[in-house]
């Protein structure tokens, strides 16, 4: 059957077809639609596949490890920076190895369309000594999931699948496999010590991991996704990874002017395939959507061998995502002439929706903070980050999930009193609670505003983990009840809200203000 699916959805459907028993994730662009597909899939419901959002990427990976421990197949999905949050679990499950197949899908965001950095997750796979799939198109991603589960189970290794924004968010018709796998039954690991990473055992497991990493590169389930196409024009060969292969073929698709092409979509691979293209060609150009991951390893530290072109010598721009035109320029192909954007066109950055609760929160906060001057409000990651833009210009930082509270603590430690944190409800339960505990224990003179719109709004309104429980959580973490205030961010309450904010900002201790009003988008959807 053919169905038009986003690559993210194709990966999800593949996991369902491959007999996955548990799907775990925290929303994050460009990975969100993987879990969303599971949640809306009738087939997943009928098969009783576990599919619920987790509090953060670390809890998601750990739950997936537990599912795999019990012998069943598990998938976990996140955006690239989410893997930083999950890194502890991720690095260690490489050492324990898996029981049921385990795939960690990570969607990178080259050019940072919706992210804070453009880290390349292939380094994480290498770091952890585990295989990495980097599909170039939607069908390949679908097909890879089956091989990835089998490979994972054969070598008892977790497997990383790296997507990039342009692929994750592109639709194509997908041909589904007809022979679907059943879910596995519970089987505990053969070796009862496998998951116990006491140093003596961890040292044993680590040797097994290193051996497996060397062996796995010869396995067809991995190596079949790397391919060599010979060509007549042999002066220069091209190595293209993942979606870079598409941009290459967009430019060189006829056979008359073809050059030798090595397509890499799976790591690690045997040295022979790289030697093959270097033996045919005097020079090689490396095209990768992300860091110069492969290019750097081909050059080596000494960089005194064959001529290699890529991001490191400026043939391809050092950062940002690739596209067909950048690749054409790198190959020396003249592009079509094109008309520049007329000067009448103005930038249109994203902004708060009309009627958004964050607007009223920031208007009140700006007024309450006026007497202290700028530079004291630390924000976090979500729609409310848009408070950085005019006319609000309310915030001074956005670093990583949860950093608002902990940066406010540090700034207050340095003497910047008062310091204020602005964090959303979903970000708070993702990574803010531990920071708030620090503040309570240290009696930091900070004010934490939880801008509670009762959803994970930025990524499209997924369930926020602790809707309705935030007050109890804050009190449970030790916030003094008289300094736990709830306000309704509406224009009619503006004066009252400014007053409450002023009182709590002046308090020399931890105060929490929950600014609570439902996301305007969620409210609209409910009305429909």
């Amino acid at each position: 059957m053919n169905k038009l699916l986003l690559c993210n959805e194709a990966v999800a459907q593949a996991a369902i077809d491959a007999g996955v028993s548990g799907m775990y994730a925290y929303p994050g662009t460009p990975s969100t639609e993987i879990m969303e597909y599971f949640i809306s899939s009738e087939e997943a419901a009928k098969k009783n596949i576990h599919r619920q959002w987790s509090s953060n990427e670390k809890t998601a990976v750990e739950a997936a490890i537990g599912m795999s421990y019990a012998g069943k197949r598990a998938m976990v999905a996140m955006k690239h920076v989410g893997l930083n949050v999950a890194a502890d679990a991720f690095m260690n499950v490489a050492v324990t190895g898996v029981n049921g197949g385990l795939i960690v899908v990570v969607a990178d965001d080259p050019s940072m369309h919706s992210s804070q950095n453009e880290q390349d997750s292939r380094f994480y796979a290498r770091f952890a000594n585990i295989p990495c799939y980097e599909p170039s198109n939607q069908q390949e991603a679908y097909d890879m999931v089956f091989d990835a589960f089998e490979l994972s189970e054969k070598y008892r290794l977790p497997v990383l699948m790296r997507l990039v924004t342009r692929l994750a968010h592109s639709r194509a018709p997908i041909k589904f496999k007809t022979d679907k796998n059943h879910q596995k039954n519970i089987t505990l690991p053969d070796d009862p010590m496998q998951y116990i990473l006491l140093p003596a055992n961890a040292r044993k497991r680590n040797k097994i991991l290193i051996e497996n990493y060397e062996m796995v590169r010869f396995d067809n389930r991995l190596s079949k996704f790397n391919s060599f196409e010979d060509g007549k024009e042999r002066r220069m060969g091209v190595i293209a990874t993942g979606v870079a292969y598409n941009y290459l073929k967009e430019n060189i698709s006829s056979s008359e002017n073809s050059c030798p092409i090595l397509k890499i979509s799976a790591y690690p691979f045997p040295k022979d395939i790289v030697l093959g293209i270097f033996s045919r060609c005097e020079e090689v150009i490396v095209l990768e959507d992300g860091y110069p991951f492969l290019e750097e390893s081909l050059r080596g530290l000494l960089d005194n061998g064959r001529k290699i072109y890529g991001r490191m010598d400026g043939t391809v721009p050092r950062d940002g995502e690739l596209n067909p035109n950048i690749v054409a320029r790198a190959l020396g192909i003249s592009s079509n002439n094109y008309t520049p954007v007329p000067s009448v066109v103005k930038p249109r950055p994203p902004q708060f929706c009309k009627g958004c609760s964050h607007i009223d929160m920031y208007l009140a906060l700006n007024e309450a903070m006026r007497q202290y001057g700028n530079g004291r409000v630390f924000a976090d990651i979500g729609c409310y980050t848009l408070g950085a833009l005019p006319p609000y210009k309310s915030i001074s930082s956005t670093v990583d999930m949860g950093a608002s509270i902990t940066m406010a603590i540090g700034a207050a430690d340095a003497g910047l009193v008062p310091s204020v944190a602005v964090i959303g409800d979903s970000t708070f339960t993702h990574s803010g609670m531990t920071g708030l505990l620090d503040a309570v224990i240290k009696k930091s003179p900070i004010t934490v505003i939880i801008s509670d719109n009762s959803t994970t709004a930025m990524t499209g309104g997924q369930k926020s983990q602790a809707t309705g429980m935030l007050d109890k959580i804050c009190l449970g973490l030790g916030v003094e009840p008289e300094h736990m205030r709830v306000i309704a961010p509406l224009p009619k309450h503006h004066e009252e809200n400014v007053g409450i904010l002023r009182e709590e900002i002046a308090y020399n201790g931890v105060s929490v203000i929950i600014s609570r009003r439902e996301c305007i988008q969620t409210a609209k959807r409910k009305r429909r």
Binding site: H113, S114, L167, E233, Y247, K346, P349, P350, Q351, C353
Partner: protein
Amino acid sequence: MYSNGKKKKEMKKDIILSGVGGQGILTITSVIGLAAMKSGLRLKQSEVHGMSQRGGDVQSHLRISDGTIFSDLIPMGECDIIISVEPMEALRYIPWLSKNGWVITNAVPFENISGYPPISDIISELEKIDNHIIIDAGEVASRINSPLSGNIVVLGAASPYLEVVSSSSLEDAIRLFFSTKGEDIVEKNILAFNEGKRISEAIIRSKK
């Protein structure tokens, strides 16, 4: 070093759909995509999700062909049609438009930024493009009592230029896409589509 030896495909349309987050760009992209798939064509449909959907500029690259499509993104200078639900957003993607390409756009500005240029400046830029259709989709949508169907009116206006997918297959796709929202919504969108198409065809006739 390499010559661009790409063969011009027999059946190929590279389309950019543009507008502002929330204007229903992904809806019309999906409708054309569905129609192309039902017509047995290959396609790739690159979308923008995430932060830009909050009132920012949003575009979608839709590539339809009877041959293999490699890149999810349309190369600059190769887009056959820009379909825009907002006039300034149509101009944002001019670098992608091919020499003989068409721009079909809504005339109604979506002014959510300060310093939005005078609409007359935007229209006169649009009129510099050889092949353009500018349609007041807002007026049409309210006239047929379906104010949310402006995007479908623009799709209707673009339909004579899509060529690789027929109007009837687009209508089928609209029925399929809106089927869960009830018969009334389906019929209003079909009407919006046909009104857009009718006006666009009238513009073509008047130009001849």
